[in-house]
Symmetry: C2
Subunit: 457 residues, 2 copies
């Protein structure tokens, strides 16, 4: 049966690419009020597509910001599982325009890649789902499962109104699992299941010594230097083995099992030295760089400043010093708890002669992890392999996707991250692109997946 | 005999203040090319004054920058000592003008203080010397000693051309001791002998990790964070007891003797907490804040920066982190040697995964110290006490005055720092002022001093 669906996609490939081009040509830059109308137009495009292929309850829901597209096809009946498909139709601004080799909103294919803003993130991947739904509907008149579609227009500006909608309309959006195609594969053509994301917390602290900058000759030796005090505080947080030395930081974290270490080992290695320019990787003692980035928590200084930053020398003792910190968290770590451990640690270690002022980062996210052995995940891996002809690798990612954690918390359903981007896609940058191969094989993967999961309820 | 000189100063007080006002009204801002002519005019003022009262060889020496005034009175003969008087007639810019309560170049007396740019630093104090010479010459027709006067116009821009002149014309400027009135007393009305200054060295270092800022989620755990590496390096330089932990840093420093600790103890205490706003002073373990600021070396972070400094959070691993350091040195420490100790220490402690780039500060100064028991110093103390009616205190200062070290090295003569400023003078700031009491009693001190040292050869 899936053969005929895939054949439809092949037969209509040019038409589909043209329709995708129409979608990508809409300048749905959500952060720019000048494009408010374009953003809505892109939402309308998605809604029209869904209606066109037979989805019901299609609604371009108004929010306080940009609208959210809802649509459902519940024709598989109560016995079949219901998937919630999440994606977004808004895009990042395209500037600086002069760095693009072709116009960001005039899609162009070059060397097997489709160049356009949003081609990978996330219009291209949203479109693949729409096209696969179309293929099913036009070929056999139905989908193997029930589907609820939720495509928002505010992902690039923090999904401000999505959370409220998901909470308020919990029944309407309720599903057995969620599928998101807004991520990537570890390498072009390498099927990749993202089964974990890190959580996030942070804070900023300022050390204050004298009430104004002082002459280092007159007062050096009398007062504590806030920049040096900050250095002492920072180095009390993490040692040179990259082990966080904050009491309780690692409490509650599950040990990395031998199975998972094996999974991580099998992920094709990014050459960190080549991609970052460092001479040597420095993971936490006892772990590889891949293990640390994927599966161990981190604590990073994101920025700091104190005193004189100009050319040459200014012999002052600065009045203040400020540092910004964020942590990436793994399952078992509660963001608020970790934040309070950091606060306690800093307050305990602040040296005499300076005062400490802490600003807690209001945003946070819990880590997300689904069991890679979960049948819905295993079926996704199989579908990938069917389409790409290659074993699927399982990865956890050091980044955070807050909507994943939200859906996990709110709906308590597994989230399947089926991404088809590649490391070369240049998301958020000039010359964003998406491989045509990902488009073709990604759609095949989706065809197999919906069919593979139809018995999953 | 000194009575008649002092009487002259009292009798001509108004005339002298008027002449001082003329001097202060000249906008001799050496850093501003627009005032080049004014700077020369101020130099001419000094030269004319010297000629007027009978000095010889008076010369407004042209340099590559602003001119230097030379003049001498050698009438005391070969049996009498020769003093080299150093001072400067240039001033700091006066802006921001709007923060002045009266115009910076229209001197005004309010509440016993003369407000004007340069009233304390250093035109006011140079003028006191000129007036005392005048008083001697007009009253008894001679000075008790030989005097060579060297008043430069480039002190506020680093004395760029002074050093060359002092080296080239070593014979012309040769003297038995040097007197400088370009410093202050520890408190208004408190006779103060400055018998030591600190030396100076410094460097800037940059820690580089990845070749550009990285996503902290993707790469946290793989690469060393340069900001954290910088914090580790900084905290390896000095511990929380304010002890510098660089090998060899304290080598060769003379121990603080019980006598000197007693001298320092007798200096009226600056209330460091009140003047700096810190809750607690934090001197080097085993020393008081006064001892540390006056007589122990320091290492201070003057500024640092890395990564994101804006509002809120940006989850990056910065590519680089930079810190600026300076040390104040005491006798026994060679600036270049200390600088190389710092370089060695940093290079030895740089953690794996980052590289270190060090910029050595080209400017440096050796510490200066004269034995407080030296007869020329003891006579200065007595003269102070005669004029102010109060015991003189002996202080060492954490700051550096490079010209003092230069004269010490080049001429190997004692430098007597006879300063009459007060902590309230606001040098280099709006509303610079000088107490009229310092003017009167300072001139008396100088009258006594020249008379007291006449037998010193």
């Amino acid at each position: 049966m899936t053969d005929s669906i895939i054949q439809y996609l092949h037969l209509h490939r040019d038409t589909l690419l043209n329709r995708l081009n129409d979608f990508l040509s809409i300048q749905s830059v959500s952060t720019d009020p000048a494009h408010k109308h374009d953003v809505k137009k892109a939402g309308q495009y998605v809604a029209d597509y869904l209606k066109d292929i037979g989805f019901e309850q299609v609604d371009l829901m108004e929010t306080k910001g940009h609208p959210l597209v809802y649509g459902e096809w519940m024709g598989a009946g109560e016995g079949a599982p219901t998937a919630l498909l999440y994606g977004h139709y808004d895009v990042q601004p395209a500037d600086p325009y002069e760095l693009w080799d072709s116009e960001p909103f005039k899609p162009e294919i070059r060397d097997g890649r489709l160049y356009a803003r949003g081609s990978s993130d996330d219009k291209g991947q949203v479109f693949m789902h729409l096209a696969v739904f179309e293929a099913y509907m036009k070929t056999i008149g139905e989908l193997p499962i029930n589907v609820k579609v939720c495509i928002e227009g505010e992902e690039e500006i923090g999904s401000e109104n999505l959370y409220e909608v998901l909470e308020e309309k919990k029944n309407q959006f309720a599903a057995d699992f969620c599928v998101i195609s807004d991520s990537g594969m570890v390498a072009s053509g390498q099927p990749t299941i993202l089964y974990g994301l890190k959580g996030f917390t942070g804070l900023e602290f300022t050390v204050t010594g004298p009430s104004s900058d002082l002459h280092s000759g007159m007062y050096g030796g009398a007062v504590r230097n806030p920049a040096m005090a900050m250095a002492h505080l920072l180095s009390s947080l993490k040692n040179e083995d990259e082990v966080v030395t904050v009491d309780g930081f690692y409490d509650g974290i599950e040990e990395l099992s031998e199975e998972e270490r094996e999974l991580i080992k099998n992920v094709p290695s990014e050459d960190f030295k080549a991609s970052t320019g460092v001479k040597e990787t420095t993971p936490e003692k006892g772990f590889t760089a891949k293990e640390h980035t994927m599966a161990r928590p981190t604590l990073e200084v994101n920025g700091l400043y104190s005193g004189y930053q100009g050319e040459g020398t200014k012999t002052i003792i600065p009045s203040t010093a400020t540092a910004k910190l964020t942590c990436r968290l793994v399952p078992g770590q509660e963001p608020d708890h970790v934040q309070s451990l950091l606060v306690d640690h800093l307050e305990k270690h602040v040296p005499a002669g300076v005062t400490l002022d802490i600003k807690k980062e209001p945003l946070s996210a819990r880590a997300y992890k689904v069991d890679p052995e979960h049948p819905l995940i295993q079926k996704a891996a199989e579908s990938y392999t069917q389409a790409f002809g290659k074993e699927t690798v399982f990865v956890r990612m050091g980044g955070s996707i807050p909507v994943v954690e939200l859906i996990d918390q709110l709906y308590q359903i597994p989230v399947v991250l089926l991404g088809f981007g590649t490391p070369e896609d240049r998301l958020h940058s000039p010359n964003e692109s998406f491989p045509i191969e990902s488009f073709d094989k990604g759609m095949e993967t989706l065809v197999y997946y919906w069919d593979n999961v139809k018995e999953s309820k």
